[in-house]
Structure formats: C-alpha cells, structure tokens
C-alpha cells in the first residue's frame, strides 16, 4: 500500500496493517521534520505532490521491493500540506519472516521514494524566507 495523505499519518493503524502470522520481523522508518538543514534554522515544511503519479510510482516501488526481498507486507504513506517540527512526513513499514529482508526492503523503499516519487518540499526558515528544494540527487 502506498498513499499520499493530507492528514497526520496514523502510525499505529499502519503498524497493525503489517501483521501477518509469517512475520517474525517488523521494521518501520519515520521521516520527521527537523529543525535544521544545510546550516539554516528550519521552522517547518510544506509538501506538494503530483498525487496521481506519486501514488502510481509509489506502488511500483513497493512492487519492486516485493520482488527483490522476501517480505510479507509493505506500506508507505507520505504527507502533503504544512508540517511542523517533529511531524512525521513519511512512514515506511515492512513485515517479513526475518529481520534482514525487513531492514533491506525498508531502506530500499525510503531511498527510492526520495529519489523517484513526484513530491516536493518547501522549507520555511526561522529568518522568514522559504524555498522549494530541488536537489541534484536526493540526500542520503
């Protein structure tokens, strides 16, 4: 499951969605809004997505991960709209029989989402300015 959400991410509900009797490992990643980037003090972020294509590309990433790794379930949700410091901007959860596949698939999904899915963040700075980020390549 991959979704773009304009409401706060329901982490507990998503974790329940990973339950499977064959799953001996669950790995979750939360990307949160932090207070600094590239040396500038950040007060918040706004995310924008081309929703139709973002959801299609996100699903493709999850299908690729299911083909590469021995996993039970994968879910990913990415926020759009205005977020405050500490808010969860993106959540990835993977359940698998064993931990290695769960860690590897989780890392694969978040890296691919950052590199490929049409979502953009605008940083709002404490000093008052704001700007869209268009990196040459996605930061690790």
């Amino acid at each position: 499951m991959f979704a773009i959400s304009d409401a706060p991410i329901d982490v507990v509900g998503l974790q329940h969605g990973l339950e499977a009797h064959g799953a001996g490992a669950v790995v979750c990643f939360e990307g949160r809004v932090r207070n600094r980037n590239e040396g500038r003090a950040v007060s918040g972020l706004s995310y924008q997505a081309y929703v139709e294509l973002a959801e299609a590309e996100g699903l493709r990433i999850i299908e690729e991960a299911c083909g590469r790794f021995q996993v039970e379930r994968i879910s990913c949700v990415h926020r759009v709209g205005d977020l405050a410091l500490g808010d969860v901007a993106v959540w990835v959860g993977v359940s698998a029989a064993h931990r290695a596949a769960a860690f590897d698939a989780c890392r694969f999904v978040i890296d691919q989402v950052k590199a490929r899915v049409p979502i953009w963040k605008r940083e709002h700075y404490l000093e008052g300015a704001s700007e869209w980020l268009h990196p040459e390549s996605a930061p690790k």
């Binding site: 990307g31 995310y47 924008q48 997505a49 081309y50 139709e52 294509l53 973002a54 299609a56 590309e57 990415h78 901007a89 993106v90 978040i110 989402v113 950052k114 590199a115 490929r116 899915v117 049409p118 979502i119 953009w120 963040k121 605008r122 869209w132 980020l133 268009h134 990196p135 040459e136 996605a138």
Partner: protein, 79 residues
C-alpha cells in the same frame, strides 16, 4: 492544439498558477517546454526535468494529442 498544464513547486511559483490551459502548435513536450520557459521564465534546463503526459512518465519526444495533460517535473525532494 490545446494542452492542460499542471505546475509544481518552483515551476508553479514561476508560472503564478498551479494549472492552465495552453493553445500551442508544439507537437512534443520538448517544444512545449521551450515555449513555456520563455513565457514564464522557467530556468530549469530540460535535462533537470522529467515529463509526464496523462499521468504517466514519458519522454521528451512523446507525440502530443489535443487535450493532453502535460506536466514538467522538477527534481523531487520528498522524504
């Protein structure tokens, strides 16, 4: 032909809107972007953008049809 353009992030700021309908003789995204870059002052070179038509990634030489939805995608920054 008439195209429906959607704009995101920096391109939306430069165009001053998030979508517009554009009448153009451009037959592919490359020609259409060249026109719009002049009109709106877009500074991205095509090499830094991806292009989508009707909700799917495609290439710059895609043959456009009347009423196509065309989107030029700046480098992404999700996560």
């Amino acid at each position: 032909m008439t195209y429906r353009l959607l704009y995101f992030a920096t391109l939306s700021d430069a165009a001053g809107c998030s979508e517009e309908r554009v009448a153009s003789e451009a037959a592919d995204p490359r020609a259409l972007y060249a026109e719009l870059a002049v009109r709106h002052g877009f500074t991205f070179t095509p090499e830094r953008l991806r292009v989508a038509v009707n909700g799917a990634f495609t290439d710059w030489n895609h043959k456009l049809a009347d009423n196509d939805e065309v989107v030029f995608l700046p480098p992404v920054s999700g996560g």
